[in-house]
Symmetry: D3
């Protein structure tokens, strides 16, 4: 039975619970298990560059300690993605990278709902490094913490940012710029009328393609 | 129960059988069905621009006639992708687009094994339109027809092209540039030592993310 | 005597008449004839992706049936350009491509006056495929049909869009984003004070370079 | 009667004669005159950056002294193009810019046959400034002077460079990288089997679109 | 003792005095001398393309007449940079190029405070030629002459432009788009809270790296 | 007196000695001190992604512990550059970033001599993130360790790589892709006949511009 291990690099178990709720439906009895787990030594939310750096080596240690067929790093800053790919011989997916790559197959110009202006500054060089800047409509910040973004109360702010991205910036597909926003995906998609990508779902979906043997039907 | 419909726009049922064999393992009993079918009015192989154009409206008619939760157009030229997306209110995936987007989450520079020089000329503007040209290592042609590419005898040619892409052009992930090449994916990956993406598997994997409700666990 | 055949892929003869009026002055007695003709089986206006697809094969059939030294496809979506180039051994020009290429030799950043937001969504990937996105100031939609755009009453809307492109978006050359807008070119150029490119004139002008023998003076 | 003035900024009248021969066929009795003339104070060939700079102000003075409806600067380095555009209120075309823009409407990837490696170093930043680098297959130098390039003996070297551009670099349209090469265009096109653009013809052809009133038929 | 020669290509000695004041602190007794001098035959301010062209050959003549270990062309249009590099066998720095390159090592997206809209039109193709357009937030014009920009009274206008670049355009590093603005650098940096690059200081700083022997400690 | 602190993040003091020798000449008595120091807890050479990650937080701790007016991170992978910039309120320079930015002001297309193929894989996304890929000629690996690259015996391998970059890849400026290669800069520049950039010298030179008060002459 194949296993995808989804690691939340922050220590907020509420966020991990949200992740688990958002990807449980992709598990396949007797063929595919998906475990969502918390990196306890991570910060409560990954919001600064220092937060990003501090979880990289612990993430690698976690992957080395707990085998899986594929790993998902469930933080939109993709902390440790290059490191874990270099050191782990199983596929490793970052949710920003997977979320953006998936968005590029769902619309022409993507918009990102980010937590903060600081997060946007961190994302832009990554978008250029991926070569995706030609397709970026804009990023818009909602000004909340990781923890707050997972609350029901965050919906209105996310929706306002999404509306600006669609109506003003020309986006026709939206990416949620934090793993914590997963619970809002359906509601936003219904309200905005265009695809809204939860990046963790996108990464797990891509991971499925590598751990299930398509030819084993 | 969700349904992904994979349509082979050429009339070569041998290719459709190969597609079915490559994605059967993604089906989930009682939750997800994957049907691979042949567009009988298509040409025996889609090799010229005219072949591409001729299947677009029939593909749309097929989708309108046969409901599904998501569709995959299983030809590497992505014929009719813009058309079907504009006219069908369910997600539609093209295998080139999905295959390239997936490759971008598996390596830094992708190489494509194409059927022919004419196919490469057709792919390059599409790669630019996708904004992926910054990540392209190269495309290399093997000089076979769609039908031949599905034969066991094609393996050596594909491997030689893959080796050139990796060793000479700097690719670290390979995309199979024809749906017919699916059967060779595993062997090529083992021989080349880097990820080899079957674009139909990539598209079905992305489609799973849209048709299974991740939150329905 | 050389012949350039300009084909209006929509069935609106009023648009064809406008095309003929806009390029008649390029004909050269006894050396160059320019015929503008209507693809009767086309839709009344090419406004959706389906409209685009439906005229491609008829356009090719028309070119095969009616010889010429060069062809111009007189619809800003350049329907069938790749197809006709692949199948016809005479130069084939699309008016978007020719209009944009000409704009790049008249100014630094081009703006496009488009019919609709849907048209803009269709144009943007084409602009990327051409590699011209670095020079795009913006596209602005006027919200009219092809037929309406050819009416005198459309002028004010076109002018307003042009003013926004120049004053706000930084364009210093404007391209008319529909063959139907040809009659407004002179008036817009006078009012805006920068070059305004009628794409059909641009395509015919480029075609002249291929059908007249420059060395035959 | 409209007038296009084509100015050869070098003092080699043999080159000017070649230009005149290559565009004479575009003149239209009683409607369009095309005058090719020599900038006598120019160097014998424009081969260094200093040659380029030295002709800019004299070119401007010439245009101010001799009215025309449009001007063509017939040197592939486009000397003085920005200057003359800023100071002259008639359209001014540079042959590199016009030649490249025309090539982009004739093929997917252009190759340039340049005089020398030094010329290529000069062209590359210009190609980036135009935003055309995404479409560049390669430039290849033949190692001749401007004067030599106009001789019949230069043909074999040009053909060899063209063959390399097509067969090895993937070009499907060739641009002649010096006004002096005009006489070889037809022969190269026949031998290479793909469009070969003479940049002076391309510029004159574009200029025709601005000086003839298309609506005056 | 090494010598960096900074040439102000306009004839406004007030600007040269400002330059001297801004770089005097980089001189090193007995090891590095920095001379700022005026090109007397230059215009009072370089504001048009014609101004740019007219100083190129005099700049080259000046460099040939007055030896130095490195030269800085202290005008933001980088007049004669390609020419002087081709003809002079010592390092030659242009202040736009050096200022932008330095900005790219101080922030993620740069904004430029330009003198005028005409200057911006001149800068944009240069930014593309440098390949720096991916990092450009925006240029904003203050609408002053070179001479005025060096007055204390210009500060408020520069600050307003800087604020727009930071707050609205997303710049996190500002480049002063005229050598005359040097005196305002410190004040702007303090007021804006992000790095403000004086391009002449940037060029001299780069030049130091080539004329002082780092290994000679 | 201003202080630039150059930190070698590997623990090889031989490399630190080489750094000190290469930048000592930039110090200015009584005005500018340059200290080169070793991060003792770093690996002997930074050759893998894990080596890169492991030094980031120690680098930050070092900067916090030891004040300076500007810092240079003297490893070509620029480890911790984003982190230290976010956390330290003094200018921080990475030698890859500074070396590339400087190269862009010395030539048109840069080539990089890298230690290994693995290093090149690490550099390419960074070059894209910087937006410098349009100017990259190529990277070529010499296949040595950091320590070996600082030995005299490494010269021939570096020269061979440099020759390939210049003659085959079209580079006209070379960047040394490891801080350890500093001692070879002069010899390579003499042998290759084009500028060779030592990235540590480039970073220190840029840092000088920020720590010396140019106006304090």
């Amino acid at each position: 039975m194949a296993l995808i291990r989804v690691i939340n690099p922050n220590s907020n178990v509420h966020v991990t619970d949200g992740l688990a709720a958002s990807v449980a439906g992709y598990a396949v009895p007797r063929r595919l298990d998906i475990i969502c787990e918390t990196l306890e030594q991570g910060p409560f939310g990954i919001e600064s560059q220092k937060d990003v750096e501090q979880v990289k080596l612990p993430l690698l240690a976690r992957m080395k300690a707990r085998p899986a067929d594929a790993y998902v790093i469930a933080c939109y800053s993709d902390p440790g993605l290059a490191l874990c790919r270099a050191e782990i011989d199983r596929p490793v997916f970052g949710i920003m990278e997977s979320g953006l790559a998936t968005a590029l197959a769902r619309g022409d110009r993507f918009g990102v709902i980010a937590l903060s202006e600081i997060a946007i500054k961190r994302h832009l060089p990554a978008i250029r490094a991926h070569g995706f800047d030609d397709r970026l409509a804009a990023e818009r910040a909602v000004g909340t913490s990781v923890a707050e973004s997972a609350d029901e109360a965050a919906f209105d702010g996310l929706l306002a940012a999404g509306r600006t991205l669609v109506d003003q910036d020309g986006a026709d597909v939206i990416v949620l710029g934090c793993a914590g926003m997963a619970r809002h995906r359906k509601g936003l998609e219904a309200a905005l009328g265009c695809p809204v990508i939860d990046p963790t779902q996108a990464a797990v979906s891509m991971a499925i393609g590598t751990v299930l043997d398509g030819t084993d039907g």
